[in-house]
């Protein structure tokens, strides 16, 4: 029997302390232990990117990361993108540009796109395709995903230029279910 480890992680801004088996994958920690099921599993060989989260400012495939490695880390998942109910520009962009169909790759795409735009706020189409090449999609053929990321880039630039955030947010129609 192996020794469990106590970890302390900040997930979407909230501190969490748990005891975990060393072999517990971060993706399972999020989904099973914390019931944050937005992050998905699409393969077991680290190819599909559906499990992508943001760890200490970096896009990481959470299926290839141990929960124990996150002790002391800050983790952002899709559930943490919106700001108290206001959707992030990447989320708005995927809605506006029809960047999703079945939705299964979408959380990984969103969290990756979020970080991509932090790293490169004004990406060309090629840079978007390369920047998102760690995330597979079967439904969309990527064309509208590229448009969605570009929409988000334009929106974030506008928001930065006009710090009155509510103006930019109000410009896009609300997402209704």
């Amino acid at each position: 029997m192996t020794t469990k480890k106590r970890i302390s992680v900040e997930i979407n801004g909230r501190s969490v302390e748990r005891e975990v088996e060393p072999r517990m994958l971060l993706v399972h920690f999020l989904r099973e232990e914390l019931s944050l099921t937005g992050t998905h599993i699409g393969c077991e060989t680290s190819h599909c990117g559906a499990c992508t989260v943001d760890i200490d400012g970096s896009s990481v495939k959470s299926c290839t990361h141990l929960a124990v490695q996150c002790d002391g880390a800050e983790v952002l998942t899709v559930e943490g993108l919106a700001d108290r109910g206001t959707l992030h520009a990447v989320q708005q962009g995927f809605y506006q540009e029809h960047g999703l169909q079945c939705g299964f790759c979408t959380p990984g795409m969103l969290v990756r796109a979020y970080r991509l735009l932090q790293e490169n706020p004004d990406p060309t189409e090629d840079e978007i395709r390369t920047g998102m090449s760690g995330n597979l999609c079967r439904c969309t053929g990527y064309q509208n995903i590229v448009k969605a990321v570009r929409w988000a880039a334009d929106t974030l630039k506008a928001q930065a230029a006009a710090p009155n955030a509510s103006a930019a947010a109000a410009a896009a129609p609300a997402v209704t279910a």
């Binding site: 088996e21 072999r23 517990m24 399972h28 989904r31 099973e32 019931s35 944050l36 099921t37 937005g38 992050t39 998905h40 599993i41 699409g42 393969c43 077991e44 060989t45 190819h47 599909c48 559906a50 899709v78 559930e79 993108l81 919106a82 959707l87 989320q91 995927f94 809605y95 506006q96 029809h98 999703l100 169909q101 079945c102 939705g103 299964f104 790759c105 979408t106 959380p107 969103l110 978007i128 395709r129 390369t130 998102m132 090449s133 760690g134 995330n135 597979l136 079967r138 439904c139 969309t140 053929g141 990527y142 064309q143 509208n144 995903i145 590229v146 129609p173 997402v175 209704t176 279910a177």
Partner: protein, 803 residues
């Protein structure tokens, strides 16, 4: 609202609007509800022990080490299922399939035992601990070899059975022989033909590989005697009926729920052993049991696609008029025939293979064969073998064009069914509803400036130092979708109708449920758009639900592009029943006769008096308050639609490729896809699915394969090797459309989005072969990966001079 009619129409966000999707809100916030997201109190986890060998007898199974692991609740084998008579189950194709291997394994990764444990980590350890002893048998993986006299016997359980459900079996590994058309007429056409061509056209095995794998949460409630199962199923009602039949639990006490599904593409139609085992485990243990497969299991064991070994022949006049078609197919079905076809059609709708052409005589024969490979055959956006059929005819037309030295667009124009010939009865007996193939191809050729492309190709061919070979691929396909009329189409005896139930609430919003189930196609939005236009209620106020068999009316599910042709019709007709009742109520409220009313967008107006009207909302309230005498209160309707015919969407695709003569890599320079699906409900949603289907087609044509070695080991069963293109490899797509409504459909809509897969795959092959056509190449088998194309280059091309 008394705005002008056109403003009110826009506000409905109904038919034809590219309105944004209603389902997106939950997905973009990580609040989807997929099977693996479901947690129930007391839930256990199931994992599967699988055979490493393709063909073997099971000598022993030792559960003891697994049972000794803390947290393991049970280990079950076929012997445990025997008393329940569930160790074998019927397939959708009239065969039987082992649920857990019964004394013998028939394909690599076949299910041998299940373990149930507290969590998936313990279950994974338990799977390792189950010790199975095998005695290896000789496997056969090539379907031609499987039909040789001394071939290994795969199905011991069928020993002596010379009749299958589809007729005579001519060999111990033979499944069925199926024929269509008129072989005498076809033979006569070939005997008198001025020109004939013949080409072997293997269509290799591939796999749909949706991003979400298959799984379920089975929850048997021992107190109520009720079984609920959340499942990745494209056909939940069929699952309910089958589960009831297998388990003996009355259908009224079985509830199947397809929640959010992460892509289907035909992978999630069949009933897999994992589902049956989870249900049995839940019943035996009295607790919920979750089973979710991993990616290797998904690729290795769930319904593959294609594996059709086709030989096509065309008879023609010297000036390129096709007079006859003959096709022979060896169909590799794997170890069990679990093909999801309508029961009368063991080769699906393959006999659409006269395609868009007016071919007077045709014959097709398909022989199904068993091999030591996973079962399946119908999946991956194939519309019941339409992918194979279109591949065959579109390749054969190119082969004929090359033999005659004819332009590949011109030969199509010469042979198209003409617009005036619709409705058109094909040589195989299908009645095509409508089409305008000339207009579609002309539009595409104009858009890409076809003459200029051919001129450029000629220039490149004349340049010995050109670093690339340029190819132009054309495909003009006709599909047959919308299965289907119940007299022709049934699944396990249930006719392939579909259904819709709509209920309008007193305050004028509505809820609607259908027998189909979206897996990303956007039904929550598009179905609401249909109702919005029919009833004059905004699509924002129409809730659409699918997938819960306890509330949704019975339907046959979503696959084969059938949702719009079948359920879409049911939706329109249910709405029209409500509309008819609403008209009566409106007439009563306005104190006029029904004949004095006219409908405008969202209201009944008195003819000639614009001020006197009642909106659908007014009517809804009145229906609950005080309906007129003779009418029941409420405002709802249900309609079960048995389609009178299939629908026949069509399209014209054109692809330009540049092949690197040094490496064999193919760059798709341009892909122009024109689709005609009749009436278009939401152009944005159509276009999105076209992009996706073209991308899947690109993956099939250019890289996907499931190579088996001689021992039946499936090589490359992970995403390292199975080609799923990223955003970098995926070409940019250009889409276009024409609209030729279906005359027999209430909305004129035909169904869409398998077409990009059906049409693009032969288009890529046609383009690649066209690049080599001047060097005498008539066919190249997929996948057209760099290595295989390079091998073709070595055979026919001169090396480019090094610079």
């Amino acid at each position: 609202m008394n705005a002008p009619a056109n403003e009110r129409e826009r506000a409905l966000m109904g038919m034809g609007e590219s309105r944004l999707r209603k389902e997106d809100a939950r997905f973009i916030q990580g609040k989807g509800n997929y099977v693996d997201d479901i947690k129930m109190p007391g839930m256990l986890h199931m994992d599967i022990v699988r055979s490493p060998l393709a063909h073997a007898r099971i000598k022993s199974i030792d559960k003891s080490a697994a049972l000794a692991i803390p947290g393991v609740h049970a280990v079950l084998t076929a012997d445990d299922l025997k008393p329940l008579k569930l160790h074998w189950m019927p397939t959708l194709a009239g065969d039987v399939q082992a649920v857990l291997a019964d004394e013998k394994v028939h394909f690599q990764m076949q299910e041998v035992a299940i373990v149930i444990a507290d969590d998936r980590y313990i279950a994974a350890d338990a799977v390792e601990a189950v010790m199975v002893e095998y005695e290896e048998l000789e496997p056969v993986v090539d379907p031609h070899a499987a039909l040789l006299p001394g071939a290994p016997v795969i199905r011991d359980d069928l020993a002596g059975k010379t009749e299958g459900v589809h007729g005579a079996r001519v060999h111990h590994n033979h499944v069925f022989r199926w024929e269509a058309g008129d072989s005498a007429a076809a033979d006569a056409a070939f005997a008198t033909a001025e020109v004939t061509v013949k080409q072997d056209l293997p269509y290799p095995r591939v796999h749909p590989c949706p991003l979400e794998t298959c799984g379920c949460v089975a929850a048997f409630d021992p107190i109520r005697g009720e079984l609920t199962t959340y499942i990745t199923s494209q056909a939940p009602h069929v699952v309910r009926t089958v589960v009831s039949m297998l388990s003996g639990i009355p259908e009224s006490k079985v509830r199947i729920v397809s929640p959010d599904i992460g892509g289907g593409f035909g992978n999630k139609v069949g009933i897999y052993p994992g589902y049956v085992c989870a249900i049995v485990a839940s019943i035996v243990l009295g607790r919920p049991v979750k089973w979710v497969e991993d990616r290797i299991e998904n690729i290795s064991t769930t319904a593959f696609a294609r594996d059709y070994h086709m030989t096509g022949e065309l008879a023609a006049t010297a000036d390129g008029r096709i007079t006859g078609l003959r096709v022979n197919v060896i169909a590799d079905h794997g170890a069990f025939d679990a093909c999801a076809d309508p029961s009368k059609y063991p080769a699906g709708l393959f006999h659409i293979c006269t395609g868009s052409y007016d071919i007077p005589a045709a014959h097709a024969r398909v022989d199904g064969v068993y091999t030591n490979k996973a079962p399946g055959g119908v999946s991956y956006r194939c519309s019941f073998r339409v992918t194979e059929a279109v591949y065959l005819i579109e390749r054969m037309v190119d082969v004929l064009a090359q033999k005659l030295g004819m332009d590949k667009a011109e030969i199509r124009m010469r042979n198209f069914i003409r617009k005036e010939q619709f409705p058109y009865r094909s040589a195989f007996g299908w009645e095509y509803d409508s089409g305008d193939y000339h207009a579609a191809l002309e539009k595409v050729m104009g858009a890409v400036n076809y003459r200029e492309l051919r001129a450029e190709q000629a220039t490149r061919r004349a340049d010995p130092d050109s670093p690339t070979l340029m190819g132009i691929g054309i495909v003009t396909f006709t599909e047959i979708v919308g299965a289907g009329p119940s007299k022709m189409c049934d699944i396990l005896g249930v006719g392939m109708f579909d259904s819709c139930e709509i209920r309008v609430h007193p305050t004028g919003s509505a809820i609607a449920r259908m027998g189909t189930i979206t897996q990303g196609q956007g039904h929550q939005t598009t179905y609401a758009q249909i109702i919005a236009t029919e009833l004059g209620i905004s699509s924002e106020e129409i809730q659409v639900e699918e997938g819960d068999t306890s509330t949704a009316p019975y339907g046959l599910g979503t696959y084969g592009s059938r949702s719009t042709p079948v359920a879409g019709a049911a939706i329109a007709l249910a709405a029209r029943k409500i509309h008819a009742k609403a008209k009566k109520i409106a007439a009563h409220l306005l104190e006029v006769g029904e004949n004095d009313l006219e409908w405008e967008v969202d209201r009944f107006k008195v003819r000639g008096d614009d001020a006197k009207f009642k909106t659908m909302k007014d009517v809804a309230w009145a229906a609950y308050r005080q309906p007129p005498a003779g009418l029941e209160p409420g405002l709802e309707a249900v309609h079960y639609y048995d389609p009178p015919n299939f629908t026949y969407p069509f399209g014209a695709y054109l692809c330009v490729v540049d092949i690197d003569r040094a490496t064999g890599e193919t760059k798709v320079r341009r892909f122009y896809a024109l689709d005609d699906c009749g009436t278009r409900i939401n152009p944005m949603i159509i276009e999105g699915q076209i992009h996706g289907g073209l991308t899947e087609g690109f993956a099939v044509a250019m890289g996907q394969q499931m190579p088996y070695d001689a021992q039946g080991n499936l090589l490359g069963n992970t995403l390292m090797d199975y080609f799923l293109p990223t955003a970098v490899e995926t070409p940019k797509w250009e889409t276009d459309f024409t609209v030729t409504p279906s005359p027999h459909h209430p909305l004129g809509a035909k169904g869409v989005a398998e077409s990009p897969h059906v049409g693009s795959i032969p288009c890529f092959t046609n383009a690649v072969v066209d690049a080599f056509a001047h060097l005498g190449v008539t066919h190249m088998t997929m996948p057209h990966n760099a290595w295989r194309v390079w091998q073709q280059l070595q055979q026919v091309d001169r090396p480019v001079e090094p610079r």
